[in-house]
Every structure is written in structure tokens, then in C-alpha cells.
């Protein structure tokens, strides 16, 4: 029999029972659609988290006070060991490494800021001018912190865009004197960059020189030292250098944690990819269920069409022709179901995006391919049993409808 004829006959019998066909298509397409929707959830979460970390900047090596121990940490803490503070001197020292191009010390606190009768509590970031380049921030108006020595305070501040609107509306805030805690500062610029980054909304912060921050919060200790390596390749060397330098300064004690952005990103990538795979696996079970349903319905179809199969045999159909007919039908059903499922899936993803615009829901291409493949393979595999049963029917019994 010609392939075109096999396809035509299979398609005809598919169209003869529209309800049955629609049910089977529905089963397959729900399976495929759920794979797409679930993997896009996982992928969306992954993109969200990695996006947060990449928005920090590029080639960053971050120093945090305190050493995270994987074992015995609890005991050490009980023994009363307190990590030494990170200081501005540490930040300056780190710059000595040939692999480090820039360093920004960061301290964080919260303080009330006020202007013209308006007041609110905001996160205050103490840093230096290098932070602008490290974080890839842009300015909307004015300029970022002036280029000062790290330990020089200055009564200036830079506002986030949201704060600027809240306090000044359409007015330009540049040159205005605001009160932060018990100090005054002159607004010298407004950040254009907005949106959340690692839990902080850039639109709602005030940035002041790091020395001013130390005075404001009356504390010498830094929250982080963010250093930028000269290149991606030298990040590990930069990290080793920084640990060595700080260890020397802290009397041989390695009481800081240094992480590279790559490592963090890599870890999250691995975790979320595993999560997405797990979701895909769970959703694939529905594809297997769809396959079982196809088998079930095909078995019913074989007994419904016993007489027709008997006739085909009387007319000279060989076993493999009967098998080909039923497998082609199962194949059509699963391909059509898979195509419909991909469309359903993308519709679901589209709706998800509308509902949660913060997350970038996109089904990964491998998931689309895998769902498609699994749908077709399971449809065909589960189509084999009914097809063989049809092919094995005794022609006489089939013709007389027994």
C-alpha cells in the first residue's frame, strides 16, 4: 500500500469518530501544555533570580564579613568568636591586587529623610563613585557621588527616582537640601535606574558618601566590599588575592566570605534547572497517561471496527498493512494533540505573563521539544498493542463479527 493511501485511510477513520478523536487530542494536548506551562514556571523563576544577580554588574567579587563554615560553625559561634568588621582600610587594601580594577565599599542602613514637611524612612547606601560603574547605574539628573577619597565625608546625596517623585514631584531636586537623620545633605543627582535588584528597590534609596554613612550610623563596619575583576578569566585570581590581602590585615585569620558572582549565578542556575527538569518530569507523567488513554481508545476502536478489519483481510491486506493503518492513526492523533498542546501551552504562558508580569515565563526550547517527542513516542508505543491485536484478528471471525 502507498504511504499516501495509508495516511488517507487513517485520517478518514480518525474523522469518522469526531468525539473520540477530540477526547484523545485533548488528553495529549493537556499533557504537552502542562509540560510547557510548568517548565516555563521553573524557567521564569530561574531567569528572575539570575537576572537579579546579573543586574549587580559584571565580573564582581563580593566580600562579606564573617566566615560561613559548613561544619563546626555553630560551635565556633558558641565559643564566642566574632568576626572582625570589614573596614574602609580593607577596601583600600583590596585595590592592591593587580587583578582588581575597581572597588566600592558599601554600607547599608535605614534613616528617615525629610524635605519641606515630607518625611519617610528609606534605605541609605553609603558608597563611593565607583559604585555607579560597578552597578551599571544611569543618572537621570545631575551627577553621582563626587570622586573623593574613601574616608572623606561630604554633605551630598543622590536620590532614587521614586523618592524624587514623592518628595519633589516634577520639580528638580538638584541643589535642594534634605535632612537625613540628624544631618543635612545637598541633592546632587537622581538615579535613572529603577526596579528591584537583590531585594532592594533602586528607586527608593538614597546614596551618600561611605564616610558620611559611617558618621550617620556611627559605625565603621562595611556591609560589603564589591570589587570588579579586570576580566572574567581573572575572577578566581582576584578572589584568591582578596582573601590573602584581607587575611593578612586580619592577623592571619580568614574571617570573611568572598563570593564571585559567577559562582552564585552558577549555583542558582543549577538549582533552578533541576527544578525545571523535575517539573517537566512530573508533567510528563500526564503524557504517559495520555498515551494509555490512546491505547484504551484504540483498543475500543479495534473491536468497533472488527468487521472492517476482516474485510480488509479478505481483500488481501497483510498484517503489517493493518498495523501501519492503526499506528498511522495513533501517530496522527499524537502529532495533532502535541501541536494543539504546544498552542495551549503558549496560551497558558501568555496568560501567566499577564498575571505575573515580574517573572519572565518562557518555556525552554528543550521542554517544548521533549514534550512533543514524548507525546508522539508514547502515542506510538501505546498504539502498538491495539494495532497488533487488529492485525492478529482471524479473518473469518472478524468478518462474521465474532
Amino acid at each position: 500500500m502507498r504511504a499516501a493511501d495509508t495516511a488517507r485511510l487513517a485520517a478518514e477513520s480518525m474523522l469518522r469518530y469526531p468525539l473520540r478523536t477530540v477526547m484523545m487530542l485533548l488528553a495529549t494536548s493537556i499533557g504537552v501544555a502542562s509540560v510547557l506551562a510548568l517548565t516555563s514556571l521553573g524557567e521564569g523563576a530561574r531567569r528572575f533570580v539570575t537576572g537579579e544577580f546579573s543586574s549587580l554588574g559584571t565580573n564582581l567579587v563580593i566580600v562579606m564579613p564573617g566566615k560561613t563554615e559548613t561544619s563546626g560553625g555553630g560551635l565556633m559561634l558558641l565559643a564566642g568568636e566574632t568576626p572582625r568588621d570589614l573596614t574602609l582600610e580593607d577596601a583600600e587594601a583590596v585595590l592592591r591586587s593587580p587583578y582588581v580594577s575597581t572597588v566600592a565599599p558599601v554600607m547599608v542602613g535605614a534613616a528617615p529623610i525629610s524635605w519641606g514637611g515630607l518625611e519617610r524612612e528609606v534605605p541609605v547606601l553609603g558608597s563611593t563613585r565607583s559604585l555607579l560603574g560597578i552597578r551599571h547605574w544611569n543618572m537621570a539628573i545631575g551627577d553621582f557621588l563626587p570622586k573623593l577619597d574613601m574616608d572623606r565625608a561630604a554633605p551630598v546625596c543622590v536620590l532614587g527616582g521614586v523618592l524624587r517623585r514623592e518628595f519633589f514631584g516634577d520639580q528638580s531636586p538638584v541643589g535642594k537640601w534634605m535632612r537625613i537623620g540628624d544631618r543635612r545633605c545637598r541633592v546632587i543627582g537622581v538615579l535613572a535606574t529603577e526596579g528591584r535588584s537583590v531585594g532592594i528597590d533602586v528607586g527608593e534609596i538614597v546614596v551618600i558618601p561611605v564616610a558620611s554613612g559611617q558618621a550617620l550610623f556611627n559605625s565603621p563596619s562595611l556591609f560589603r566590599i564589591i570589587a570588579q575583576a579586570r576580566s572574567r578569566e581573572t575572577m578566581d585570581k582576584a578572589k584568591a588575592d582578596m582573601i590573602r590581602i584581607i587575611k593578612e590585615r586580619h592577623y592571619g585569620e580568614e574571617d570573611v566570605t568572598v563570593i564571585t558572582q559567577d559562582a552564585v549565578l552558577g549555583t542558582f542556575d543549577t538549582i533552578f534547572n533541576a527544578l525545571t527538569m523535575a517539573l517537566a518530569g512530573i508533567a510528563s507523567i500526564s503524557l504517559i497517561v495520555a498515551g494509555v488513554l490512546i491505547m484504551n481508545v484504540m483498543l475500543v476502536a479495534v473491536s468497533q471496527r472488527t468487521e472492517e478489519i476482516g474485510l480488509l483481510k479478505a481483500l488481501g491486506a497483510k498484517r503489517r498493512q493493518i498495523i501501519a493503518l492503526f499506528l498511522t492513526e495513533a501517530g496522527f492523533l499524537s502529532v495533532t494533540g502535541a501541536v494543539a498542546g504546544v498552542m495551549f501551552g503558549y496560551t497558558a504562558v501568555f496568560i501567566l505573563r499577564r498575571v505575573f508580569p515580574a517573572l519572565d515565563f518562557t518555556p525552554p526550547l528543550w521542554a517544548v521539544g521533549a514534550a512533543f517527542g514524548v507525546a508522539i513516542v508514547s502515542g506510538l508505543l501505546f498504539g502498538i498493542l491495539p494495532a497488533r491485536r487488529a492485525a492478529r484478528l482471524e479473518p473469518v471471525a472478524a468478518l462474521t463479527g465474532q
Binding site: M1, A314, L315, G316, R319, Q321, L399
Partner: protein, 258 residues
């Protein structure tokens, strides 16, 4: 048609030769030879002997009726002749080929090549038009679409249904349906036409019409075997075989049919 098959070739020659030459070929060549053919069924604990060692020769071009009461084994015999059923014991040569060694697929090929079936209940595919039903055996055989169309047209003209080609079976009368079935049976140019109660579901007039068409085909050289319990139908054949409890009870020749 493949030239490498001697049996097939013989048919091709005989169908193109003159009537008198074919008559010689017919008498000299048995198309069906049965030797000690037995068929037993296991029904529960009981072994039913449907056919009890049948010896029979049917010559190419004969018009044979097989008659007998129900349970006499006539349908079983027809199915075995049509290679749809396999005998328990005994030999069956179809067109000189021993069928005992054939496997499933070889029997399917032999059915496709040599045998045409007519059933009491027509067995047309309900969703297909008359033309598509006639086309089906050629579709299964992998005949090219152009050739299929041409032969469908000829076959439907042969049963005077060219104007009903596009009708589905439920739009045709019983007689017309059986004529479509005849067209389907002969479109592959078989050697033997096997009819199982071909008029059983028809009124006298359309039954008569159907028999006429089959007899006309027989006169063109097609071997015709009709299974029936209707004496009026059986008497029209040239040779009458009576079956009783799985044995040939009578075998008489009354002439060349009609």
C-alpha cells in the same frame, strides 16, 4: 501482474485467447484441488467436524453451487477456498499452488491476486463512496492512483452503476450495494469469485440481477462458486455440490449453467 508467476501468466494468456482455446485450457487445468480436506473446531469440550475429508476438483471457468442445510459446512468450505480459514488436515491447491505451506502474508497475497469475495451482507465500508469501496482492494495492493481510477470506472460500468460512483452505501439499494461489492471483487481480476449467499439479503428482482451479472462474468471465463441454501439460486449453476454433515453428499453436473 508479474511475468515471473507461471500461474498468473496462464490466466493472462487464457483471457486473451479465443473462447475455444480457453475451453481447452479450462478442461485441462483444475483451478481448485482438494484432497482429504478436514476442518475441526473445538467448541467447549466437543470437537466439531465441520468438514470430514473432502475430495474435490473444480476446473477453471466452472459455475459451481455448493448447497446444504445450515451446519453442513458449506460456509467453512467457502472460507477455506478463499484462504480466509485454514484446514486442519488435507491438501488444497489453488491454481496449481499448494496452499498448505503459505503463511499469513502469502495467503493475503494469494487472496489479493486470485480471489474475489461476495458476502451476504455486502461488507461495504459505510463511510466510503461506491467508487472508493471498489478502489479499496487496489489501494491495498498499491496500484497507482491513475490506474485505480480507470479500473474503478470500468468495473462500475460493468455492473451498470457508473452513475452511482459518488454515492455512499446508505444511499444505495440492496441490489445496488451487492453490485458495488461485485465490482470490488472483480476489479483485481481474480481467477475465482466466491459468493456466500449473494442473494440472501435481496428481493427476488435484485437478486436475479446480481446473479445475472455474476453469470455473465462466469461466461467470460471467471470461475464462480456460489454457496447458498436457496434451491432456485443453486439450480442455476452448471454443477451442484451437496454437502451434508461435512461430507460431499452429491455432485452432479447439469450442463453449462444458464
Amino acid at each position: 501482474m508479474k511475468a515471473s508467476r507461471p500461474a498468473r501468466q496462464l490466466y493472462v494468456i487464457s483471457s486473451t485467447e479465443s473462447l475455444s482455446d480457453r475451453a481447452i485450457a479450462e478442461t485441462s487445468k483444475p483451478i481448485i484441488e482438494l484432497k482429504g480436506l478436514r476442518r475441526e473446531f473445538q467448541v467447549g469440550d466437543e470437537l466439531v467436524h465441520a468438514l470430514n475429508g473432502i475430495d474435490l476438483q473444480i476446473t477453471a471457468g466452472e459455475y459451481v453451487s455448493i448447497m446444504g442445510p445450515s451446519g453442513s459446512g458449506k460456509s467453512t468450505l467457502l472460507y477455506i477456498l478463499g484462504l480466509l480459514d485454514v484446514p486442519t488436515a488435507g491438501g488444497y491447491r489453488l491454481a496449481g499452488v499448494n496452499t498448505a505451506q503459505m503463511n499469513d502474508d502469502e495467503r493475503a497475497s494469494a487472496r489479493q491476486r486470485d480471489i474475489g469475495f461476495i458476502f451476504q451482507s455486502f461488507h461495504l465500508v459505510p463511510r466510503m463512496s461506491a467508487a472508493e469501496n471498489v478502489e479499496l482492494p487496489m489501494t491495498l495492493a498499491g496500484v497507482a492512483p491513475d490506474e485505480r481510477r480507470e479500473r474503478v470506472k470500468q468495473a462500475l460500468e460493468g455492473v451498470a452503476l457508473a452513475d452511482r460512483a459518488g454515492h455512499r452505501p446508505d444511499q444505495l439499494s440492496g441490489g445496488q450495494r451487492q453490485r458495488v461489492a461485485i465490482a470490488r471483487a472483480i476489479v483485481t481480476q481474480p481467477k475465482v469469485l466466491l459468493a456466500d449467499e449473494p442473494t440472501g439479503n435481496l428481493d427476488t428482482a435484485s437478486g436475479d440481477e446480481v446473479l445475472h451479472i455474476m453469470e455473465a462474468l462466469n461466461q467470460q471465463g471467471l470461475t464462480l462458486i456460489v454457496v447458498t441454501h436457496d434451491p432456485d439460486v443453486g439450480e442455476r449453476a452448471g454443477r451442484h455440490i451437496g454437502l451434508h454433515d461435512g461430507d460431499v453428499a452429491s455432485d452432479r453436473v447439469t450442463g453449462a449453467g444458464e
